[in-house]
Subunit: 196 residues, 4 copies
Amino acid sequence: MTTSKTPSERRTHLVRLAGDLFAEQGFRATTVRQIADAAGILSGSLYHHFDSKESIGDEILSAFLEDVLAGYRAAVAESDDPRAAIERIVRSSTATLDRHRAALTMLQRDWNYFSGQPRFAYLRTAMKEIEQTWIDLLERGRETGVFRADLDARLTYRLLRDILWLPTSWASSKSWTTDQIVDGLLRLLFDGIKSA
Amino acid sequence: MTTSKTPSERRTHLVRLAGDLFAEQGFRATTVRQIADAAGILSGSLYHHFDSKESIGDEILSAFLEDVLAGYRAAVAESDDPRAAIERIVRSSTATLDRHRAALTMLQRDWNYFSGQPRFAYLRTAMKEIEQTWIDLLERGRETGVFRADLDARLTYRLLRDILWLPTSWASSKSWTTDQIVDGLLRLLFDGIKSA
Amino acid sequence: MTTSKTPSERRTHLVRLAGDLFAEQGFRATTVRQIADAAGILSGSLYHHFDSKESIGDEILSAFLEDVLAGYRAAVAESDDPRAAIERIVRSSTATLDRHRAALTMLQRDWNYFSGQPRFAYLRTAMKEIEQTWIDLLERGRETGVFRADLDARLTYRLLRDILWLPTSWASSKSWTTDQIVDGLLRLLFDGIKSA
Amino acid sequence: MTTSKTPSERRTHLVRLAGDLFAEQGFRATTVRQIADAAGILSGSLYHHFDSKESIGDEILSAFLEDVLAGYRAAVAESDDPRAAIERIVRSSTATLDRHRAALTMLQRDWNYFSGQPRFAYLRTAMKEIEQTWIDLLERGRETGVFRADLDARLTYRLLRDILWLPTSWASSKSWTTDQIVDGLLRLLFDGIKSA
DNA sequence: CATGAATGAGCGTTCATTCAT
DNA sequence: CATGAATGAACGCTCATTCAT
């Protein structure tokens, strides 16, 4: 019965601390000294756990994308029709929003930085799969008459994907619960703001 | 009678060059050296025209907000009902999108940086007015039965404002004209993606 | 009539200061702060003149190799027989010794560091040419009976090249003039230490 | 009755591992982490065996110098004339070359580093004895007419001592056996490269 | 107005070393 | 004995900014 953490818990803890800072300030704007300060250690000591700042970012981003991709795949596989799949994607996305605020912020603010590096090539790959999933769903929905016939699948995808990830940056103002946000989004998405 | 530009034209040119870089990379991620390189001068020489990098940002941001605010005020003043006002805001927003890509990118990527500085206090003031305009319109629309009765005005505002500014960051991919984007947005906004 | 140096003189001066330190301590063991200190400026200011510590090393090494290669080519082209060519190489090598102490020290102490980098690929190329020149001369001398028939050209080359560059590291103890050293070397080289 | 090594064997093994790295990269260019990696332990664990990186260097250097000095003393004591003594020194040097590659590399590459520290004062002492031995032999040989009358003993010593230690740095290219090298050296030394 | 040279603070990172467990 | 976590000083380098010429 000891209070000491297991080895990997220390690392995980540091990733979480770093993630909080990344979520607030973005990746590039966060210094390793800020991360170290948050952990109460010196900046050099971080390198006992990670071999670079980027590898912390890597850990956060890849965990996020695995999560998201798994969600998308499950949504498509286990839904009967495009509308249901999209609703499921939206709901599951919102759930991951809280756990992956850092990744979202990094994707939004530091995309240029990451996407240029070979190490983060998987970002582009994952994004491609996400895009393809949306477009497939939107086109199938259009063909089966569930969605508007004049829907531009690619344009709608771009709007929706970004919209879905927007609330991340709304700080933790706690003005709304994630449930409220997702409901508002779904209503807006399917019904618009007009009264019926 | 010389062909050289007037001082203010030179300055304006430099701001435009800087703006292009800010739009692509964000404010913090852009170095004064990159700006100077684009202008074909040395970085130190920029300080004959501006007393700091921030003052370039200031110029870009305040011009943008004046433009936007003017648009919002005109939209409200000259529209008969909330729906018309919102449509006008959306349409005019898209027009400013092209002219103010730099400002939008800066607001999205470097908000933390600017909003903390006294010098940029006007950012918060302007944002407040924008927010209030939206909320007024949405609530009036709800009260007059034009919009859904269960509409959360504040939540919808946050979503809409950000959504409106999203396409800025879509690089100059030229996949869609701004007209296409605004139409797609308006359809999504008023009607959702469901077929009628 | 001004005492100010021309632009390139400042740069040249800094390279010389850096070279003095490299000659004493080697390249890796010398810090940019030491170089800056020697110049009376801050370490960051060096980067106004060079884009990296390595580029200073590059400048020193490539200048040396150009010099040496030119000497070798001239020696071969303008000498009647291998013995004369070798004597000329030895004499000219010793002359460059003083001007290029830094480069020699870097080659001796930091070869591993430089030779691994693509940027310094020319080091290997130049060394190959030097080696080939020696081997050609030694073999021709052996064939024409000037040198011993049992001479191992490649082994002798390795010994001689290194021997030629040895005195560089003898600090500037000034115990011997370069003339004394070169004479000693030539006697040793051609005649050994035995009495006739 | 266990198969585990005795403490001192473990230590010796670590010194050997460290020595291999020092021989390849030099002392300063080798990190304690590399040594620990080679031993399959963590860098901090090395400090259970040595109280500093320098003490590993110390062990290697002092062992080498004891060996060399013993060889020199024996050569002088058991040789009839200077020429025989020198030949014996050269031959025994080559034998130690293999066993002490690390020490030689350290002396060549990191002399500045060690010679400045009081802890390594014995380096200077030993070098003095080596120098004196050579000079005595060369001068005696000159006086007895075995060597050239115009031989500069001190200059020749410097050349010879360094030349003798040169082949160490020729990696383990295995182009030549140590016997070949020593023969080449002796021929060069006594006879030069001229044909008889 | 522009240049060329510099500043000074801070960046991500390395490394020998220490020490409680 | 070894580990895992940390230290602290230094490293090469970046960048907004200043200023004499």
